[in-house]
């Protein structure tokens, strides 16, 4: 071999050795730093950073990272003070006095004051159903001093604390007044909260990546964490939300350790993930989600209660759950409109499925074969199978059904229309809500009877149910609240405000070295550390 060739080889080998040595050192440093960075694949990309303007879960989850709340529910679904140090209720139940904890600061260093709190509650109350109800019963929200404020009611209202502890969209997050003064139909202009994390705005790429860093000024409570209550102790320095729209890529990235948690792996990939030695499947949202079938009361023949009852009796939840979820470990039949894992769980009013009864009811209704249009979103895997079950089910009882395929965004635009079906309207759509979003007659928009004025799509109108909802809101005794809730559900089934299609649980896939994940009604990323 020539001398020059040997020299070149020697030089090359030296460069390789140096690179390897540098690489090893770099890898060791990187590994140590990596333990303090949590990489999380959320179920979708974050685009709307204002959790009050939208009910989207991504915005809610973002809210829990950077904002805090006056109260939070624990794992018994009981409200516990969070930003509030103490509170009391006057003997006549008309005045609630709240005192904030010491040391609460926004990310810009400004203290959290009652001015900020009241402005935030008023903004939240413009959009949220429970907030609107609370505001309707409120005579005044009054600042006593910088740490103490009062909610003074017009009449006793049983849901004051429950409203302030609402765990899911819209959550009453507390923002600085300068942000909370933004009209409720416009995005807030900044991301300043007092929560356990701060958003790193310079690294935010909407729909792609969100980065949070630990808030060094955050003072967690001393109690152990329990759902949205207790101490929110942050044990990592940085959290990265990395959107991955391809499920196979997300799975590979998790297996290889490029990410730590995958919030919602698709059900068909769970068996493969379970076989991976470094991955665990954990149920981090034990309250679950609920499928529903919603009918349009404005469009014949669904304006006829007997036709709706026929559909209700034809539905067997097991068919829907098997088609959409598949594995019985992850679903359960649940007739409770306020969730099977909540204090208001009841089967009151829920009929047993019966095709014969359904056919009989349809005949009694005088149904003449009018076409029923079911909107079927093909691009939303989480509910795409539901309309494909409804089509044959309704046909089996003698209905004339047209299942129309479309993307979810088209469906969302179309379901807001009150026009007749032949002018772009609709009869039936399906959706899924978190149990936390429907856990009482006020939060559950599906049991509203307000019709066209403030009702959910489908515009169910029923003064009887509205009276029952008001009774529930006024009632302060929890046992009596349960009875009224049961009555609401019974009426909702009688009039068929919607058809529950069962409950399912979306587990997360987590690398085994990630410890401290917490079950909760929404995604929470405090208490987590990496070994």
């Amino acid at each position: 071999m020539k001398k020059s060739t040997l020299r070149h080889l020697g030089c090359f080998a030296s460069i390789l050795a140096l690179t390897a040595a540098f690489g090893i050192t770099t890898i060791n440093d990187a590994a140590a730093q990596d333990k303090k960075v949590l990489r999380f694949i959320p179920h979708s990309g974050l685009r709307i950073t204002d959790p009050i303007i939208t009910t989207a879960f991504m915005s809610r989850n973002h809210g829990y990272m950077i904002y805090d709340t006056l109260f939070g529910v624990d794992e018994k679904m009981q409200p516990q003070p969070q930003m509030v140090e103490k509170y009391d209720v006057s003997g006549d139940k008309l005045t609630y006095t709240f005192t904030l904890r010491d040391g609460l600061k926004f990310h810009d260093g400004a203290p959290v004051t009652t001015t900020d709190v009241i402005a935030s509650l008023q903004r939240w109350g413009k959009n949220d159903a429970m907030g609107q109800k609370l505001i309707a019963y409120t005579k005044e929200m009054k600042e006593v001093d910088a740490k103490t404020f009062q909610i003074i009611l017009k009449e006793p209202y049983g849901l004051v604390i429950d409203s302030l502890a609402k765990p899911s969209s819209n959550v009453p997050f507390i923002m600085p007044k300068k942000m909370a003064d933004t009209p409720a139909n416009q995005n807030v202009p900044d991301e300043i909260g007092s929560g356990p994390y701060r958003m790193v705005k310079a690294e935010f790429q909407p729909g792609v990546k969100v980065v949070y860093e630990k808030n060094p000024d955050y003072k967690p409570r001393s109690e152990p964490p329990s759902y949205m209550a207790g101490g929110k102790v942050v044990k990592v320095d940085r959290v990265e939300w990395i959107t991955m729209s391809d499920a196979q890529t997300a799975m590979n990235a998790l297996i290889k350790g490029e990410v730590d948690i995958w919030e919602q792996p698709s059900f068909d990939l769970l068996p493969a993930l379970k076989k991976e030695k470094d991955i665990e499947i954990r149920n981090l949202q034990p309250l679950g989600m609920n499928y529903m079938l919603r009918m349009n009361w404005l469009q014949p023949p669904l304006d006829n209660v007997k036709v709706r009852q026929a559909i209700l009796h034809a539905v067997n939840q097991e068919d829907y759950l098997a088609a959409q979820v598949g594995d019985p470990d992850y679903y359960k039949v649940c007739p409770a409109m306020f969730g099977c894992a909540t204090p208001l769980n009841t089967a009151e009013g829920a009929p047993k499925p019966s095709i014969e009864t359904a056919k009989k009811l349809l005949k009694e209704s005088g149904y003449k074969g009018e076409k029923i249009v079911i909107m079927a979103p093909t691009d939303l895997g989480s509910i795409a199978q539901l309309p494909l079950v409804s089509g044959p089910v309704l046909r089996s009882i003698g209905m004339n059904v047209d299942v129309q395929s479309m993307d979810w965004q088209t469906l969302v635009g179309r379901r807001a229309k009150m026009d007749p079906v032949d002018q772009g309207g609709w009869h039936i759509f399906h959706t899924a809500w978190g149990t936390a979003d429907m856990m009482n007659p006020i939060a559950n928009a599906g049991v509203k009877g307000l019709g066209k004025e403030g009702g959910f799509f489908g515009w169910t109108e029923d003064p009887v149910i509205e009276k029952l909802r008001d009774d529930y809101a006024r009632e302060t005794d929890p046992e009596k609240q349960k009875q009224i809730a049961a009555a609401v559900q019974k009426r909702a089934y009688e009039m068929v405000l919607y058809v529950p299609l069962g409950e399912y649980f979306q587990p997360s896939a987590v690398r085994k070295n990630v410890k401290g994940t917490l079950p909760s009604p929404a995604v929470v990323l405090w208490n987590i550390e990496k070994e």
Binding site: G45, R47, I48, T49, I53, T54, T55, A56, S59, N127, A129, S169, P183, A184, N185, Q186, N187, Q205, P206, G207, V208, K209, I242, M244, S245, D246, Q248, T249, N252, A253, I255, K256, E258, D379, M406, D407, W408, Q409, T410, V412, G413, R414, R415, A416, M418, T431, W433, D437, A445, K452, G454, G455, F456, F457
Partner: protein
């Protein structure tokens, strides 16, 4: 100058197509449990309740001032969003182009030179395979072998050049190879066809008769004269790459403009869709201009 009316027509077309398509960004923004009143308030705030001509005039007025508007959802300027996402797309497209040309042109030359032989047939068979295998299938296969089994390269993500040449190459290699298969197939076939046409010319026979080496005949005489159609296809291929990388971007989780526009279409984020389509049409116009300039450089007989 023809670019301006072209882009004007594109602007009108994309505006109307979006506004007349089903879907409502206000309803999507408000969320699943929103009321009709919530949605109406948001629609008014976005100006979507105004008559179409008024919306168009407002948008054109902004456009003429270089303002592409703001995302309906994130409220960030479209120019900023495009700016965040353009580097991954351009990086991927340029690297793919470079790799494809470096591999495909020699392959095409060899195939033409050895027309009818086993090399020619082998290269053409590979070319058929390149056209036939879907990008996402190839991507998954490469990820399986090089990331999961051999642990040589990461599964996903993008690293900017500013983070260092090694991290950049580490993350761009698999997507580049994946995307290049179809373009290698295309460029190799076109190169082969163009070379075959030229290799039959008298001046090539003369070059051989003069005793020139084969590689000099092929590269200096034949390739130069076959370059026009090859350059055309490479230019069109590059334009297609810019607009067509979305599948590769999705499989490898690269935050490029392709994914930006697909996400925007699914969410009906009108300003982003309008802005990106205008950008793409501008890029196509520029690429065509570059091809025309390249013709002049390659063939002195061409004058405009």
């Amino acid at each position: 100058m023809a670019a301006i009316p072209v882009m004007g027509v594109v602007a009108v077309f994309v505006f109307l197509l979006l506004r007349l398509s089903p879907g409502d960004p206000a309803a999507i923004l408000a969320g699943d449990a929103a009321t009709v009143e919530n949605i109406a308030a948001i629609r008014a705030d976005l100006g979507l309740d105004k008559p179409l001509p008024e919306q168009f005039v407002t948008w054109m007025g902004q456009l003429l001032q270089g303002d592409l508007g703001r995302s309906v959802f994130s409220k960030q300027p479209v120019t900023v969003l495009i700016g965040q996402r353009i580097e991954p797309t351009i990086s991927l497209a340029l690297m793919t182009l470079l790799f494809s040309v470096l591999v495909a042109v020699p392959m095409g030359i060899i195939a033409a030179w050895r027309q009818g032989g086993w090399l020619d047939r082998g290269i053409m068979a590979l070319s058929v395979a390149g056209f036939s295998i879907p990008v996402f299938v190839l991507g998954y296969i490469l990820i399986y072998f090089f990331s999961m089994k051999l642990d040589l390269l990461p599964v996903q993500g993008f690293a900017s050049l500013s983070e260092g040449i090694l991290p950049f190459l580490e993350r761009i290699t698999l997507p580049m190879v994946t995307l290049s298969f179809i373009y290698i197939a295309l460029f190799a076939r076109i190169t082969r066809a163009a070379m075959l046409e030229v290799l039959g010319e008298d001046y090539i026979r003369t070059a051989h008769a003069k005793g020139l080496k084969e590689n000099v005949v092929l590269v200096k005489h034949a390739l130069r004269n076959a370059a026009i159609p090859i350059v055309s296809v490479i230019g069109i291929g590059f334009a297609l790459m810019i607009g067509g990388v979305v599948v590769t971007e999705t499989v490898f989780n690269i935050p490029g403009v392709g994914r930006l526009v697909v996400d925007a279409v699914l969410a009906r984020d009108y300003p982003i869709i309008q802005g990106v389509i205008l950008l793409f049409s501008g890029v196509y116009v520029l690429i065509n201009l570059a091809i025309d300039v390249a013709y002049v450089l390659l063939d002195p007989r061409i004058r405009y």
